[in-house]
Assembly symmetry: C2
Homo-oligomer: 369 residues x 2
């Protein structure tokens, strides 16, 4: 059995608990700790599974019945078990990510969809790689382990495939992909060769995506490319490059004059002034039988890693992408024509699913069966 403590009980954390409890592994993974930013619940000295009412709102329950959150105490409780314990960080907090080295040193394994520890400071990334048994070249033994499949492409098997290439000695030439569900949706709708209707204005496409809840509250947080840049940084680092957000070339497609406006409403009101700019780019692409796609690229051998708006011909798999799917293409020595992985790269169900697959890997390694 493996103890599980979850930091952050939002949509993903709640869905994960629900998936575990409904699965055949409900007696293998014991959920013994839950925290929100305010309150936390931990179980008893025997690490009995918390009794969880699946119908109730988990977050409200923890906030109503928990004690004040103290992450040091939370980690201490988990690390004192004789059984292996995993701490799952379901926040997006840099502050929480900074705690991973301490957690790993105390023997706790870490699983997380939080991109910060793997895309911010290179020193933090290296310290974590050095501490975790499954990423270190030198450490041997049964614990601790770190998995973060869901930091890129949510539940899609992107990072596990990338790590397999690296470990078997395959040589990665290039990783290219549409890493953002939001930007996938925007350009799949804005730039298409199959539709006979004239493209809608770009600002209208953004407006619709915002209304559907596909964008961040301020769509500039998608359009600035930083989310994609973090994912590219993670892929690049796992492929052996020392990529850094501060030096990675990232094309911010928010018009420059709108980047510093404070209010989201004002940004949305002024975006239509730039529709001609986007329409022109689109028309140029379509004229060449190409479409616009916002892509991230890890160029292992050529050193041209970055994030940008690019054109793809009709026959390219990126051109026929639909909905808000992610698509990632690896080009390697063994796979010169590429391996493509495509599917939903965001959402609570698929993110929780991806975390669950990481938990299964840890359980296999610590228990062997």
């Amino acid at each position: 059995m493996v103890n599980v403590g979850i930091v952050g009980i939002g949509l993903v954390g709640s869905e994960l608990v629900s998936q575990i409890l409904k699965s055949s592994y409900k007696n293998v993974f014991k959920v013994v700790g839950l925290t929100t930013s305010q309150k936390m619940l931990v179980s008893d000295a025997q690490y009995t599974s918390l009794s969880i009412d699946q119908e109730a709102n988990l977050r409200s329950t923890v906030n109503a019945t928990g004690v004040q959150t103290d992450l040091a105490q939370f980690a201490d409780y988990l690390s004192k078990s004789n059984e292996h314990s995993v701490i799952i960080d379901c926040t997006a907090s840099e502050q929480v990510a900074n705690l991973y080295p301490t957690w790993l040193r105390s023997g706790l394994s870490v699983v997380t969809p939080n991109k910060k520890a793997f895309s911010s400071s290179l020193d933090l990334f290296k310290e974590i790689q050095d501490l975790a048994v499954n990423t270190s070249q030198t450490k041997k033994g049964r614990s601790p382990l770190i998995y973060h499949e869901t930091t890129v492409g949510a539940g899609l098997p992107v990072l596990s495939t990338l790590v397999d290439f690296v470990r078997t000695g395959d040589e990665i030439v290039k990783i290219e992909g549409i890493f953002s569900g939001t930007l996938s949706y925007l350009f799949n709708n804005f730039s298409t060769l199959t539709s006979t209707a004239a493209p809608k204005p770009f600002s209208e496409t953004v407006r619709v995506a915002k209304d559907l809840g596909y964008t961040e509250p301020d769509p500039r947080d998608d359009l600035n490319g930083m989310d994609v840049a973090r994912k590219v940084t993670i892929c690049g680092r796992l492929a052996g490059l020392e990529l850094d957000l501060s030096t990675l070339p990232v094309e911010n497609i928010v018009p420059e004059a709108l980047q510093s406006i404070e209010s989201t409403d004002e940004f949305m009101a002024k975006l239509p002034e730039y529709d001609d700019h986007f329409a022109k780019l689109n028309a140029e692409a379509l004229k060449e039988n190409q479409v616009l796609r916002y892509v991230g690229m890890v160029d292992v051998q050529g050193g041209q890693s970055g994030v940008k708006l690019a054109k793809y011909p009709a026959t390219h798999p990126f051109a026929s992408l639909q909905g808000s799917d992610n698509i990632i293409k690896f080009t390697t020595k063994y796979f010169p024509n590429g391996v493509i992985i495509q599917g939903a790269g965001a959402g609570a169900a698929v993110t929780a699913y991806g975390i669950f697959t990481d938990l299964l890997k840890i359980q296999e390694r610590v228990e062997g069966f």
Copy 2:
């Protein structure tokens, strides 16, 4: 450290040895046994790695310096080690596959690209599932394990993804794919909407594929759909269905009159008589802006599993497939719009790579690091 014994030293077996020796795991996996159908080489009582000259032809070396092959003795040698041992079956032999239960019972893990054990007798499949720790619901402990990622889509992460869906409690609705590199090549070339030239006769497409070495020596062994049927059977069984080759609906696209002809040359000579038949099917599809693709389907809920020639619209990912790529689409509860995995599904390098990733899983589970 993990001992490795390889049964069958063809292109895949030789490539695997080469990949291991070139990787950073060359001191983790000790190649201590090699067999061809005639001769075998095993190492000493200390399970020292065989000294292998990477420049030499491995198969010739074993045949020149080995003793007469005795698989019982070979397995016995491997199972007597204090370290964990894996036997890798790189043959396509049903007779060798029938030995897996004996091997598993003696504590040997098994890795193989041989489809027979997982697509022939349902009893054999169940016996193996029951014996292997990683597939059994009841067994606990550190050994034995069985992995066969490369039986479907070679090195593509198809079966590992499928197994993750099953284990996490995701519900698989449908698995649909182009599982044969040969049939992928044939129809990607014969049936296309992007080419402006008139389609070449089907028989000519087959002739070219045969000359390029893309087909079996007798192309009817591809066109009869049995290779695809075996892969569909494997996927279906892992998804929980009791599929059986004898009852699975399989569309044999070899014209009936040519199925019983003995000589391959005569078959190839007579195939052009049926070009009109294939041209008509293709024209009908293209008229509807669709293309022909030979697909396998596991329909978990609808019970319509089978193998057939089907039509796909231009916007479908199967329609824009190129070369001899495999493409597999999973539709599940968590991924209602599907997860797609695409890439080379045949060839020595990618098959050896896939076997290597299976070996890494075994090493992680038995050693924990």
